[in-house]
């Protein structure tokens, strides 16, 4: 599979105090470590093990992920926005890679 590519959907605008829905998706194999290859050798685990979302540096949502989560994990959550700013999303891979995405929102 190609390099994991994060995708995020955040509304471009919102009114102050509005609860917005944030959708995130990253393309990733989420290899569980339980499978074996053609020669019977175990395929090493390689999953996204942590996801975080911050808004202007403040934590919004975070979670640990486990091997049973399917490929291309999709997460959807809500946040109440009080001011304009930037959402920063990070996905942490087992191999130490960190994939990030930023999305700005204008709050009126």
């Amino acid at each position: 599979m190609a390099t994991p590519k994060p995708r995020v959907k955040v509304p471009a605008k919102a009114t102050k105090g509005e609860v917005i829905t944030i959708k995130t998706l990253i393309s990733h194999d989420m290899e569980s470590g339980q499978r074996k290859d053609k020669d019977g050798k175990p395929i090493p685990r390689k999953i996204i093990n942590r996801f975080t979302c911050t808004f202007n540096g403040q934590p919004v949502f975070a979670c640990d992920m486990a091997p049973a989560i399917s490929a291309n994990p999709y997460l959807e959550f809500t946040a109440k926005v009080m001011e304009s700013g930037t959402f920063t999303f990070t996905w942490v891979d087992d191999d130490g890679s960190v994939y990030t995405a930023d999305n700005t929102i204008a709050v009126q």
Binding site: K9, N72, Y74
Partner: protein
């Protein structure tokens, strides 16, 4: 004296509860709108000679959650394949140094509506070709690249991408070209032929019993307007020939080869049965 025990052999009689009064549910009344913008035709008047009055997309037979997944192109997992297909479209492969885009340019224009008319008569091949075979022919003749191995991830991605350009276009197979009619006839024969240890034909489930439940599965009319389609049980995109082979295997018959004459004929006929439905590629099913 040795005690001899006679072990009664349990003879398993396979009773397939299809003919009986199974649990029935009508397809869900709902409208398929992608991203709140594009409304797709999921019910259409059946073409002449069709056993039903109305053809209905398999989308109506799925749960609320599965239907919702298809309506949101961000949540639809198969859109990852569409993205990947878009990259392959532009990637140069083969000795001729060409990509799909070298000849066909922007797929959004050149491939718009194209996928809705496949399988299509091909005079050079002397038989109908589907999108996969057309791509392979292009690769061989124009790109001088190797044809794809059946169900290679790149083949599924590219075909999904090409067919996705026809999203919303009504399925219309042209049976007047070449010998299409005879392939349709052959496909129809196969559709009604019972095969396998379970002695089932396509029609056993998708015509005579559509709307009923086969275990937990709500039997649809078996229309193929959403292929290649994302199946939740596979967590993957499934090609039409992959699905047809799966169905035949489930009847416990010898599985025909992908792109064999039998499966191409079946594809011609089954695609025709969904005439008028919008192309939904990539659909989401369970």
């Amino acid at each position: 004296m040795r005690l001899r025990t006679i072990v009664p052999m349990a003879v398993g009689i396979l009773a397939v509860g299809l003919a009986g009064a199974g649990l029935r549910a009508d397809p869900v009344e709902d409208k398929l709108v992608i991203d709140g913008e594009v409304e797709l035709v999921t019910r259409a008047k059946a073409p002449e000679g069709h056993p039903f009055d109305e053809v209905v997309s398999g989308w109506h037979y799925r749960t609320d959650e599965t239907r919702a997944l298809q309506q949101d192109s961000f949540a639809n997992p198969a859109m990852l394949y569409v993205e990947r297909g878009a990259e392959i479209w532009k990637t140069v492969q083969g000795a001729a140094g060409k990509s799909c885009a070298s000849c066909h340019g922007d797929a959004a224009e050149s491939m718009k509506g194209v996928g809705a008319h496949y399988p299509k008569w091909n005079a050079a091949a002397g038989k109908p070709v589907n999108l996969e075979l057309q791509v392979d022919a292009c690769r061989k003749n124009n790109m001088q690249a190797e044809p794809y191995k059946f169900d290679h991830a790149d083949q599924k991605a590219l075909v999904t991408y090409i067919k996705h350009q026809s999203l919303g276009a009504p399925v219309a197979v042209d049976l007047t070209q070449g010998a299409m009619q005879s392939w349709w006839d052959k496909g129809k024969d196969l559709y009604y032929t019972r095969t396998g240890q379970l002695n089932l034909s396509c029609a056993s489930c998708h015509e005579q019993n559509n709307g009923k439940y086969i275990r937990a599965d709500h039997l649809s009319q078996g229309n193929v307007n959403g292929f290649p389609t994302y199946r939740l049980k596979d967590a993957d995109v499934v090609s039409l020939h992959g699905r047809l082979r799966g169905c035949v295997r489930d009847t416990r018959a010898t599985t025909p080869k992908a792109f064999s004459d039998d499966l191409i004929a079946l594809e011609v006929y089954v695609t025709w049965r969904g005439t008028g439905l919008a192309v939904e590629t990539p659909a989401v099913r369970h």
